[in-house]
């Protein structure tokens, strides 16, 4: 939470509509995303009740579990969902190319595009994770056989759910989070978790203020919850009688069919408003111009997708239930590097994000008031071009002398704070520049900031951080419990109850 964002919320209250907190879009929005809205039965551990899924607004496919506590019906639901979702994912495995990537620029194979799953909120991402967990250990053969697509669905859903932990990853997006990254509403973050209320602020219907639209959106009768939790009153007054009707024995086939149709219609009515809202949200996000570094992060997502496709193709095991010590430490290391990089990239792509750091003293912006573009440093063995510029800033300046800073306008050029003068509200900062000016001792035109240019600098960097080194799994030290047992698929995995 930054003062700049907090102020945007206050402005939203006053103006009656959500205010932008970014100037570009920081997420990749796929050309053909797969939208999933899901409902679960209250009181159970992730028991699917119904879902609507599809890759276009007019192709929403409805899946319903007539008796949500019935194991066979659950696996039938999983199989039906698997054919849709896995089919969608595998459609992206047709096109691949060779690219140079990674710290050492080695050549590797990468699919030209990747799937993107869009869900309404983080709770539905949790549903995806748990559904992946309850299906990825199943087998298509043996006593408890399931449809072969089910364990494949489980592994893909688990893969996607784990990617949500990676800062900047866009393979599985929650609409409320994606929207809240770009707009500030006049309500609280807690209320922003309600997709209909959030959209009410961002995109209010004609004649209503954001506040009025959000208030209307809180009525579960006109705006059913986005899920996976259902509204308790709906459960008690509508759902329970319909489910009872479907599971009553000795009914004529016609009566049974009517009961099923009634249940399906009721659940479709619960899902459809959120379904439509999702596609509107995607349109709103797509309308924003993409930040310069979004494509690069999508490349990383494509690498991850390619890597996991290869893992599955080679018959790799399902993801373990919990991380081993080495896997955990290694993953934390990776997440920390990615988080730092993601924060820096957004600041570089977007002056409004950089503004947050300008208020905390990790960045500053202003006007160039003096420049020595031809200054040469002759102290070392070789003469080096080291221009000096002076920037006048009104931002609170708190960077120590000697600190390295970078300008988003010239990311390939490094700068060092030489001195600061003036008072708090108007500081003159002298910077020494290096690099990004060509190889000669005269700077290439435009590579040195000129007098009068508006410019900003930050201590954030997106430089390549090498991966830490970790022992092999078999060498897990005694301090952390020693080497973990090798994974052997057991009967427990297959027979695990899903009731």
């Amino acid at each position: 939470m930054s003062t700049v964002v907090a102020l945007a919320r206050a402005e939203a209250v006053s103006r009656g509509v959500a205010q932008p907190i970014s100037t570009v879009r920081h997420l990749h929005i796929a050309g053909r995303p797969l939208v999933l809205v899901a409902l679960t039965l209250a009181g159970e551990a992730n028991a699917p009740l119904a879902a609507m899924v599809g890759d276009a607004p007019e192709s929403g496919h409805l899946l319903v579990v007539n008796q949500p506590r019935n194991r066979d019906q659950r696996f039938a639901f999983a199989a039906e969902l698997a054919h849709i979702v896995v089919g969608y994912i595998e459609s992206f495995q047709a096109d691949a190319g060779m690219v140079r990537a990674g710290g050492r620029g080695e050549e590797r194979r990468r699919f030209t595009d990747a799937p993107q799953l869009f869900v309404p909120n983080p709770a539905t991402a949790g549903f995806v994770r748990l559904l992946g967990r309850s299906t990825r250990f199943r087998r298509p053969t043996g006593e408890y056989a399931v449809d072969p697509a089910v364990p494949v669905l489980g592994r893909w859903l688990t893969f996607l759910a784990e990617r949500t932990e990676v800062p900047g990853s866009c393979l599985l997006l929650a609409a409320t989070q994606a929207l809240a990254l770009h707009w500030a509403t006049g309500q609280s973050a807690v209320e922003d978790l309600n997709l209909a209320a959030l959209m009410g602020w961002i995109d209010p219907p004609a004649g209503l203020t954001g506040e009025q639209a959000a208030l209307a959106a809180e009525d579960p009768v006109t705006w059913p919850p986005a899920g996976p939790a259902t509204d308790p009153t709906f459960d008690n007054e509508v759902l329970a009688p319909l489910i009872t009707a479907c599971s009553r024995p000795h009914r004529s086939p016609e009566r049974q069919q009517v009961a099923v149709i009634n249940l399906r219609n009721a659940l479709r009515d619960q899902l459809t408003p959120t379904w439509k809202l999702m596609w509107r949200a995607i349109d709103l996000l797509r309308a924003l111009p993409a930040g310069a570094r979004v494509a690069g992060r999508w490349d990383s997502d494509k690498d991850a997708f390619t890597g996991y496709s290869e893992h599955l193709r080679d018959g790799g095991p399902p993801q373990p239930r919990r991380d081993s010590a080495v896997a955990a430490a290694s993953r934390l290391n990776s997440l920390e590097r990615t988080q730092a990089s993601y924060a820096a990239q957004r600041a570089f792509d977007d002056p409004l994000v950089l503004a947050q750091y300008r208020l905390t003293g990790e960045a500053f912006g202003g006007v160039v008031t003096a420049a020595e573009p031809d200054r040469v440093d002759a102290t070392g063995k070789r003469r080096k071009l080291r221009p000096l510029i002076t920037v006048l800033t009104h931002d609170p300046f708190r960077i120590d002398q000697g600190t390295a800073v970078i300008s988003p306008a010239r990311p390939g050029q490094s700068a060092r704070v030489v001195s600061v003068s003036g008072e708090a509200a108007a500081a003159s900062v002298v910077l020494e520049l290096a690099g990004g000016m060509g190889r000669a001792l005269t700077a290439a035109p435009g590579s040195v900031p000129a007098i009068g240019e508006r410019i900003s600098y930050t201590t954030l960097t997106d430089s390549y951080q090498p991966r830490g080194s970790f022992p092999d799994r078999a060498d897990t030290p005694w301090t952390h419990g020693g080497p973990p047992p090798v994974y052997v698929p057991t009967q427990d995995d297959v027979t695990e109850d899903w009731s």
């Binding site: 919990r322 010590a325 934390l332 003293g361 030290p477 005694w478 301090t479 952390h480």
Partner: protein
């Protein structure tokens, strides 16, 4: 038993556990100023005397250099290796010892029985095996660091202060909560969860904290182990060489602190931004006044008294911008040596007089960051003589209004001391040492 005897007995026991070889590791809890560095040096000496190759791991370059220096002084004949990163410049503290060799690779330190370096550097070393490792500040080292270094040694002595700031991460994931090898936990926490039979001992005496502080600090921040002060009441005194002119609240606070070891300089209750100008000014004024009054510290170290010069005074805050604002207000006194920093950066340091801007001052609501017991513990355990806490009124009320809605996780032991309870205990104590600013 005198404090000295208590302390010596504890150290002897630890060393005999090390020598006994019955355990792969020994953990030593060391409250503030309890002689942790002396223990590390003694243990290193004993192991070196027994020709046991060992490595010593500390968390910062300053900590490593300090230990290198102390060990070099204690054993002049010992060849000590200082393993360093590529941008490390040897401090005079280290380079003055001819027996110390500095290098970036272990292979260039062959012949050194003892090799010392930071955890970050040791984590990049992937070869070599030593019988012994001594890990300093093991409670402040994160367990993923330990995972990377532990393959280098067979047995370990882990020393640290459990009451101070825990290691942290900015990554917010829950996937490892409950695992005994959760990489976000401290090294000691993971070590003990996976090896619960390892002996844990504590150093029972704080040589830094005065008698006036030991009791309240032990009760608030070390509820299960406790400790005593190494000096008796009256052995540590602060006196003034000048009298107060007029009787302002600042003078009253300094005098109360000098007399009792504590003072709470309380400003009227108000919600403010972090860099509350009145609080910033108060912290600076108290430091200025203490120097103006010519404070003299008498202690067992200097029975004749020594002047409290600027370098012996520190002002501690929770946030960097607060420290910066106070430095700006102090002006030239900073150059003269007064230390102003956050709790994170004050860890391990010691002063005669400290001034603390209370983390909860001026706030409407407490957050986990501000309630964290380690933060307040660091801030209130830097002093040898007296501590003045600067705060706006209303902190006990804020604590009482605090909603307790933190999530609880299975298989994650409850964290003690509880920051909320520790804050209440400290405020209850300070209530008896209150000076109102106006």
């Amino acid at each position: 038993m005198s404090a000295r005897d208590l302390s010596a007995a504890a150290v002897d026991e630890v060393l005999s556990l090390l020598g006994g070889r019955d355990y792969r590791g020994v953990v030593v809890d060391s409250p503030p100023g309890a002689g942790k560095s002396e223990l590390v040096v003694r243990a290193a000496r004993e192991l070196a005397d027994a020709i046991e190759p060992l490595i010593v791991i500390a968390q910062t370059n300053n900590q490593v250099d300090d230990l290198v220096h102390r060990l070099a002084v204690a054993t002049p004949a010992l060849a000590i290796g200082r393993l360093s990163g590529h941008d490390y410049q040897p401090a005079p503290l280290v380079s003055q010892h001819a027996q110390v060799r500095v290098a970036q690779q272990v292979r260039d330190l062959g012949g050194c029985l003892v090799i010392m370096g930071t955890a970050a550097k040791w984590a990049t070393v992937s070869e070599g095996y030593w019988r012994w490792a001594i890990v300093d500040e093991a409670y402040q080292m994160r367990s993923d660091m330990l995972l990377r270094i532990a393959p280098r040694f067979s047995h370990g002595l882990f020393v640290g202060d459990p009451g101070q700031l825990d290691p942290f991460t900015t990554v917010e994931v829950e996937r490892w909560l409950g695992l005994t090898w959760d990489p976000m936990l401290s090294a000691v926490a993971v070590l003990l969860r996976n090896n619960p039979d390892l002996p844990v001992r504590r150093l029972p005496v704080s040589w830094r904290l005065p008698q006036s502080a030991a009791g309240v600090v032990a009760e608030a921040f070390y509820p299960f182990s406790g400790f005593v002060a190494g000096t008796a009441a009256g052995e540590r005194r602060l006196e003034f060489t000048t009298r107060a002119f007029g009787s302002g609240a600042v003078d009253e606070a300094i005098e109360l602190a000098a007399e009792t070891g504590w003072a709470l300089y309380e400003m009227p209750a108000r919600q403010t931004i972090r860099t509350d100008a009145e609080a910033v000014a108060a912290c600076a004024s108290i430091a200025e006044r203490a120097l103006q009054r010519g404070m003299v510290a008498r202690s067992e170290r200097a029975p004749g008294g020594e002047t409290v010069d600027p370098g012996r005074i520190a002002i501690g805050t929770a946030h960097r911008d607060q420290a910066q604002a106070i430095r700006a207000r102090l002006g030239p006194l900073v150059a003269r040596g007064v230390v102003v920093d956050t709790a994170n950066r004050l860890q391990g340091r010691e002063f005669d007089l400290t001034i603390v801007l209370h983390p909860l001052s001026g706030r409407r609501d407490a957050t986990a960051f501000h309630l964290e017991s380690g933060r307040l513990c660091v801030l209130t355990t830097r002093h040898r003589h007296a501590c003045v806490v600067v705060a706006r009124a209303g902190i006990p009320e804020l604590l009482d209004a605090h909603p307790h809605s933190d999530p609880v996780h299975i298989n994650v032991p409850a964290k003690f001391p509880d920051g909320w309870a520790a804050n209440h205990a400290v405020m209850a104590h300070l209530a008896n040492h209150k000076v109102r600013s106006r």
